[in-house]
């Protein structure tokens, strides 16, 4: 194999310009794919992070049927205390769970005594909520990054639109599930940066205050947001939790709980999927570029060396070795292009990060793109390129190995 490799490398250096040109094509393809994956991947991760770490959590548990009416924030589809305690008990036993936070969600009127508008409110316990959504505090652009009883965190849009500032007193009025209307005064403790998507305009109050507004005598929970220690175990944990909760049924024998990952709860999952699909097609394009360029150069190589093939076949080189010789040429060509592409791609990614590219997403502006690429992605791209290079050189190599020496020697 060493000797075959030596001859293959010498043959590649024989047509240096052509070899460099082909390897450059592969290199450009690899660089392009690495940059696309790193930038789009970083964009995707940033968006997913925003969704999960400042709003949704990694997954949520609702009462069965709640999700279908989630836009109405139905109070009659909350989890009862007993059901919540059961869920709490199960979640506390799961080693995968980092934290979880019960919420009560409802719609109400928000009044500054001068103006009134509607608002979606989340009643939360601050400690578990901030632990479950670690980026939530970073969204508090004005005021204290806490939430005490009697305080409200309002979205930026409301603050700007209704000229409400930190320290102002406002009134929240809501109707409870029995149809009774109640109101409560709150002090604005902070303003939340708006983010794009459902829930991006929600306000936050203390859970106990929510219970007061809704005149709840016993705790009820609209949803439980869960944060996992390892995000990559999301789906396996969701399945596990579903299985654990499947035994819990109501009087009609129907399941009580509904487990949903963030993907089911956010429309941004489709954007994330679209990015994945685009990355897939970019990879397909890379495969096409590598396939065509390597196959082209190998067909040329075989055509130009027909007499040489005839000579080595005549002196007794077995067809398998002739095939290996040409496949190795393709392999080295692909490897050369892939390695150069990896190196250049990683350097460009480092430069991009040093320069710092900013972009806007929805109402969020000045987000700094942090282009990163996992070593496994670099490895995967390289393996794809090298594999395709071998595949591309197989046909010309096979043709070379099957040549009749007598005909090859006669070739002019």
């Amino acid at each position: 194999m060493r000797n075959l490799s030596r001859i293959a490398i010498r043959n590649l250096s024989r047509y240096r310009r052509r070899t460099l040109l082909t390897a450059s094509l592969v290199t450009i393809g690899v660089v392009f794919v690495l940059l696309f994956i790193s930038i789009s991947g970083s964009f995707k991760n940033m968006m997913v992070g925003q969704m999960t770490d400042s709003m949704l959590g990694h997954l949520e548990v609702h009462r069965k049927g709640y999700l279908a009416s989630i836009d109405n924030l139905p109070l009659n589809l909350n989890l009862k205390l007993q059901a919540y305690r059961k869920l709490e008990e199960i979640l506390k036993q799961q080693p995968e769970v980092e934290s979880f936070s019960p919420r009560i969600k409802f719609g109400g009127m928000f009044s500054t005594f001068v103006e009134t508008t509607n608002i979606r409110l989340n009643g939360v316990y601050p400690d578990p909520e901030f632990k479950t959504l670690p980026l939530l505090t970073s969204r508090i652009t004005k005021g204290a990054k806490t939430l005490n009883r009697g305080e409200i965190l309002i979205p930026d849009l409301l603050s700007t639109g209704m000229k409400v500032n930190v320290g102002d007193t406002v009134v929240v009025i809501a109707t409870n599930k029995d149809g009774s209307v109640n109101g409560k005064q709150f002090k604005v403790s902070g303003v939340l940066e708006s983010i794009t998507g459902p829930g991006g305009r929600d306000g936050y109050i203390h859970f106990d205050d929510a219970m007061d507004v809704l005149r709840m005598e016993e705790m009820e929970v609209s949803e439980v947001a869960i944060r996992l220690k390892h995000f990559n175990r999301l789906h396996s944990f969701a399945e596990k939790l579903e299985s654990l909760l499947s035994g819990e049924v109501n009087k009609q024998g129907k399941p009580i709980y509904d487990v949903s990952t963030w993907e089911k709860l956010s429309p941004f999952y489709n954007i994330a999927r679209m990015i994945d699909v685009m990355a897939f097609f970019i990879k397909l394009m890379l495969i096409a570029v590598v396939l065509v360029s390597i196959m082209n150069v190998m067909i040329m190589a075989v055509y130009e060396r027909i007499r040489e093939i005839g000579t080595i076949a005549a002196i007794g080189t077995l067809p398998g070795k002739i095939l290996s010789m040409f496949v190795l040429e393709g392999l080295f060509l692909g490897t050369m292009g892939a390695l150069a592409g990896d190196l250049i791609g990683v350097i460009i990614i480092l430069i991009l990060n040093r320069v710092g590219i900013t972009f806007d997403f929805g109402r969020q502006t000045g987000l700094v793109l942090s282009a990163t690429i996992a070593p496994s992605d670099v490895l995967m791209i390289s393996v794809i390129v090298i594999f395709i290079s071998v595949i591309a050189s197989l046909q010309p190599a096979y043709k070379a190995s099957k040549m009749e020496p007598i005909k090859a020697l006669r070739h002019v």
Partner: protein, 245 residues
């Protein structure tokens, strides 16, 4: 190396052609390239097939060299009936029993003189390093190319290339070396030098050399001359002996 190898070769080597014919078809036209050719070649001979272009010299050498198969007849090369060898067996047989010298030298351009001679040992016979080096240096010395061993084919003359080709043909200790018009691309002085080299190798290693030529000036260098005309063997001349029609 030479004496031991020569001893082995003389014991096992022979070429026997019995009514060998070869037909080609060019489009719809059938061409009889060889017509019932029969001959025997003794071990360690220096044999030439002569005849004008199209007489069947190259076809015959291709058949002896297992590069092609006869349409009819029987052909034994080195005690092997080569008619029944498949493609892989033919390649293996050639690699172990036959050396080739080509009209255009056919050296591998990306390999040095040394590496060109080394090629069959590495890629065909898989000979260990020490033995390989010994054989190559012996042959380089014998063909007078030791000084040029690190040069590439495009850095040496035509005569030198053919001497390298001779060394490459001999390095596997073949029983038979086939040379198709080995001097066709050389001037007369170089042609005679190359033939001298071939004869020297035959004397030193006991290898049988069979070459084809249409150049009457160098035919005389052969010890046995077979004449071909229109695919038929029309004469045999043994140097120092009388001619047979």
């Amino acid at each position: 190396m030479g004496l031991v190898v020569a001893e082995n070769i003389t014991k096992i080597y022979s070429v026997v052609a019995t009514k060998v014919s070869k037909d080609y078809t060019a489009g719809e036209i059938a061409i009889k390239a060889l017509n019932e050719v029969s001959f025997e070649i003794e071990p360690a001979s220096f044999v030439s097939f002569v005849g004008p272009s199209g007489s069947g010299k190259t076809t015959l050498l291709n058949l002896i060299g297992c590069l092609d198969k006869p349409t009819e007849g029987k052909l034994m090369v080195a005690d092997t009936d080569v008619l029944h060898l498949d493609r892989k067996q033919s390649a293996s047989f050639r690699g172990n029993n036959i050396g080739f010298i080509f009209q255009d030298f056919n050296l591998i351009p990306v390999l040095t003189v040394y590496e060109n001679i080394e090629y069959p040992l590495l890629m065909v016979q898989n000979i260990p390093g020490v033995e390989r080096k010994k054989r190559i240096l012996t042959l380089l010395e014998a063909v007078g190319m030791i000084e040029q061993k690190d040069k590439y084919p495009d850095q040496i003359s035509g005569g030198q290339k053919q001497r390298v080709a001779i060394a490459r043909a001999l390095v596997t200790n073949p029983k038979l070396v086939l040379a198709d018009e080995p001097t066709a691309n050389l001037d007369h002085k170089t042609a005679f030098l190359v033939l001298e080299s071939m004869k020297k190798m035959r004397n030193e290693f006991g290898t049988t050399f069979i070459f084809s030529t249409h150049d009457q000036k160098i035919v005389g260098e052969a010890e046995i001359i077979y004449s071909l005309e229109d695919g038929e063997l029309v004469g045999k001349q043994v140097k120092g002996g009388k001619a047979n029609a």
